[in-house]
């Protein structure tokens, strides 16, 4: 646990990517393979289920710290992170028992099925034997909030350097479902392993938002242009007469998207499609809101299947006749994809149409149709591009439409978590409704660190009331809020819900009298419907 804690601290303390890679290489070079597997699992976001309820942890930590419960809660509000709060409140002990990462993780899995009293004793034995830093990392693992500031690509790079295996192979091998407790390091990473898991997806190739002028990316004839759809990016995998659907968040979605099950008899074995899974009815793409309803349901009923049917808008073919074809040029993959979809001739699978455009200057016109068509913008892909792993610049770009915006006034603030703990950074905004301010959205991100501190200071000086961690403030500061979509909502006081709201800029030049009204948003809502 000591070595892993040191790794965590070192990664936490640097923002330089080279240093992060070096720190990881150093760790993997010195650690046994059992711990290495667990470290890989944890770094790539594979955590065991939370073994202990948060309320129990809070109560037990309070007991061990010898303070009243309200003081624990007040401390937690200030720290903003449960694992850290507990590690700061528990009295440090002198004894220091060294347990390896894999031992700790295996115990975490075992304790899940034990009684409350056993869990408490087990937790106390750890809390009484760790150093402060170890306590913090351990608590993070227990609360299920373990996250490290290191991208997947950097992890793959470090593993590649340590074990001399190509990082793209590693990226692929680490996709999908595998359990650290039953995996062997050699099998897990190396290409030669024979036991290939049928459900294993390929790493997704992701694009950055276009941020270079067209003159820098060459002639439009070398580019394939498609719509950018607003659904769930996914891979449909058919191997060994079974279907597996993975989302880009590496979640297995097969059970939620059951209408695709028949594909096992329709697509040939050894097929992997990359595309956007969309709610689609009456020849039209439905709003993302409908998709969220689908994902939100635990069980998919007949009615849901009827009301919100899905299809995949296919835009790439990664595996064909059991062969990985990611190294073929896009134009060649596209040809195979077209043949396959045409042959299949099934409404579940649609081909993402290619857009015709003869000059970069005319592309904006196409982009501006996006919202009407229920799309997010355009995708530009170089025709000779291979299918890369992860997010990369250069060969693929997304060119999203500009977001909607609204001017609103800040009325509530709450302190943030993690990096923003102890700073008022979570805001609730209001707009006018018949001469009254009504709250209508929250937004977190978008301000610079400097602005955050300025707003934080302002909030502390202009608080009207405190309710727990929330403060109501004088309605004065105006912000421009950007958002991607708008829906009617019965759950919100204002009757509307924004999609992906964030702060675009602080409008110091505007007064609260000049902000938007609910009427404005309702108009927008009606124009979108």
């Amino acid at each position: 646990m000591k070595a892993f804690t040191e790794l965590y601290s070192a990664l936490d303390q640097t923002t330089k990517t080279n240093e992060k890679v070096n720190v990881m290489v150093n760790y993997f070079n010195h650690i046994n393979s059992k711990d290495a597997i667990w470290a890989i699992a944890l770094l790539t976001g594979r955590r065991p289920k939370r073994p202990i309820k948060t309320t129990d942890m809070k109560a037990w930590a309070t007991e061990l710290a010898g303070i009243p419960y309200w003081l624990f809660e007040d401390s937690y509000d200030v720290v903003g992170d449960l694992a850290e709060t507990i590690s700061l409140l528990i009295p440090l002990s002198e004894s220091n028992v060294e347990k390896s990462l894999s031992e700790v993780m295996e115990e975490i899995i075992l304790i899940q099925s034990k009684t409350e009293e056993e869990k408490k004793q087990w937790l106390f034995s750890f809390w009484n034997s760790f150093s402060k830093d170890e306590l913090f990392v351990f608590n993070k693992l227990i609360t299920g909030s373990f996250r490290v500031g290191v991208s997947q690509q950097l992890i793959f790079k470090a593993l590649s350097k340590t074990y001399s295996i190509d990082d793209k192979v590693i990226a692929h091998k680490l996709m999908g479902a595998w359990l650290p407790q039953t995996s062997e390091l050699r099998e897990l990473l190396s290409d030669e392993s024979s036991s290939f898991d049928d459900s294993k997806p390929y790493p997704f190739y992701l694009a950055y938002q276009l941020d270079v002028p067209f003159t820098d990316i060459g002639s439009i004839v070398d580019w394939q242009i498609e719509r950018k759809y607003d659904g769930i990016r996914g891979q449909i995998i058919v191997r060994n007469n079974s279907v597996h659907i993975w989302s880009r968040g590496e979640e297995l979605m097969t059970d939620k998207f059951i209408e695709f099950m028949p594909l096992k008899n329709i697509l040939p074995n050894g097929t992997v499609l990359d595309g956007e899974i969309l709610p689609f009815k009456d020849k039209k793409i439905m709003s993302f809101n409908e998709m969220q309803k689908r994902i939100g349901r635990k069980n998919v009923s007949k009615k849901t299947l009827n009301d919100i049917p899905l299809c995949m808008m296919c835009y790439d073919l990664l595996e064909y006749n059991g062969k990985d074809i990611r190294q073929l040029a896009l134009i060649a993959r596209r040809k195979l994809l077209e043949e396959l979809i045409t042959e299949t001739n099934n409404p579940l699978l649609k081909l993402s149409p290619l857009l015709d455009c003869n000059a970069w200057e005319n592309l904006d016109t196409l982009r501006n149709e996006s919202k009407l068509l229920g799309c997010e913008g355009l995708m530009l892909k170089q025709k000779d591009s291979i299918y890369e792993t992860g997010r990369r610049r250069g060969k693929w770009w997304k060119w999203k439409v500009d977001p909607y915006t609204v001017d609103a006034v800040l009325i509530y603030a709450q302190s943030g978590h993690g990096r923003r703990a102890n700073l008022y950074t979570d805001y609730t905004f209001a707009i006018w409704d018949n001469g009254e301010l009504v709250p209508f959205t929250k937004a977190y991100s978008g301000l610079t660190d400097k602005e955050l501190i300025e707003v934080d200071n302002w909030i502390k000086k202009n608080t009207i009331e405190k309710f727990g961690p929330v403060r109501s403030v004088k309605a004065e500061l105006v912000f421009e809020i950007a958002f991607e979509g708008i829906n009617a909502s019965s759950r919100h006081k204002s009757g509307i819900a924004l999609r992906f709201p964030r702060i675009l800029r602080w409008r110091k030049d505007k007064k609260k009298e000049e902000i938007n009204t609910k009427e404005d948003l309702l108009q927008l809502l009606n124009s979108v419907l």
Binding site: D12, Q13, T14, T15, A65, I67, P68, W70, L71, D74, S75, V78, V79, G80, D81, E84, T85, L88, L89, F136, G416, H417, G418, R419, R420, A421, N422, L423, D449, K450, I453, D456, N457
Partner: protein
């Protein structure tokens, strides 16, 4: 009541003196020279003698009388004396006694010995005014020796990798502790605010290099820079590239505060009392009545009422303690040079 909390500050009517007033008054007793406690515009000042030079340096031409610790003066029947507060050099708790009623105004204080400042001494009283900057049980500061060890290891590690070490702390108090704690052969460069503050304090500057516009990178190669928070994010820092950046503050106990400032390293070094320090200090006064000022005042006064059954209330002041984001108590003119 001998002491009142007024719009101008903490006031003793019988002696007609204010302690650390935030508006100009006739007579002001100053607990210490940080700018949220020592403001300009008062007609007469009274402070500890070790504060004299720094007060004159920061406030300019003032009429100032000084006292030694424990030395008493009498104003209209009120006996006034100053006692070590352990916060920064010359920092004092103010004891006021009139007809058997004893008050202690502690200003800012810390209980742990930092190895540089004259340590805090509890003073028995009936009414104790305490700060609460770190008045939550999450704040448990390590011993000075432990932090110094971490600090020295860090600068050596950086030097071994050819990196400069930039250390950020307040000019008054923190900077002298950092410099006292550093045991290194590396060249040490001081931001001019710190160099000048040292000079005003009579802190030996002979071993340090003062930053001037003629500074050449090779002077360090690699070395240590001690500067105030005002330089963070400014072009001034870029000339020391490649460097690692550390903050010295009690807030560095929290990961969020550390990460928000993009610090490579945070050293938990504070001139305020931590949770146990506050409790220890309050209990040692034997006071029944506790007035909790700047910091987590509502939480801390509730704790004192519930846990120690003390008569504790929170009091609104304009003191700021150790700023978490800005070094407001260092907003003094010489920063701008």
């Amino acid at each position: 009541m001998l002491i009142q909390f007024t719009n101008n500050g903490i006031y003793c009517r019988q002696a007609d003196v204010y302690i650390d007033p935030w508006k100009p008054v006739n007579k002001a007793i100053i607990t210490h020279a940080h700018s949220d406690h020592a403001r300009t515009g008062n007609k007469y000042y009274l402070a500890h003698k070790n504060s004299e030079s720094i007060l004159r340096y920061r406030l300019g031409n003032i009429v100032l009388q000084t006292l030694n610790y424990y030395e008493t003066i009498n104003i209209n029947g009120v006996t006034i004396s100053l006692h070590p507060a352990g916060h920064v050099i010359g920092s004092a708790q103010v004891r006021l006694e009139y007809k058997g009623e004893i008050w202690v105004v502690s200003g800012d204080y810390k209980v742990k010995n930092d190895g540089y400042t004259i340590p805090f001494e509890p003073v028995k009283c009936q009414h104790f005014i305490t700060e609460s900057t770190f008045g939550l049980p999450i704040y448990n500061f390590p011993q000075a020796e432990e932090v110094n060890l971490q600090l020295n290891n860090w600068v050596e590690e950086n030097a071994a990798r050819g990196l400069n070490s930039v250390i950020i702390g307040y000019a008054l108090g923190k900077a002298q502790r950092i410099l006292t704690g550093l045991k290194t052969d590396q060249p040490v460069l001081l931001h001019s605010t710190i160099y000048n503050t040292n000079e005003a304090l009579g802190f030996d500057n002979s071993r340090y290099i003062k930053f001037t516009p003629e500074f050449k990178k090779e002077t360090l190669n690699p070395g240590i820079v001690v500067a105030t928070g005002s330089v963070v994010g400014s072009p001034w820092l870029r000339r020391f590239d490649p460097y690692k950046l550390a903050f010295c503050s009690g807030w560095m106990q929290l990961r969020g505060a550390r990460r928000r400032r993009n610090a490579d390293k945070g050293f938990v070094m504070s001139d305020h009392a931590d949770w146990n320090g506050l409790n220890e200090a309050v209990l040692a006064t034997s006071a029944e009545n506790i007035y909790v000022t700047h910091g987590y005042k509502s939480v801390y006064s509730k704790w004192l009422r519930e846990h120690y059954k003390l008569n504790a209330v929170e009091v609104e002041t304009l003191f700021e303690g150790e700023g978490i984001e800005n070094d407001s108590s260092e907003n003094v003119k010489e920063e701008k040079e």
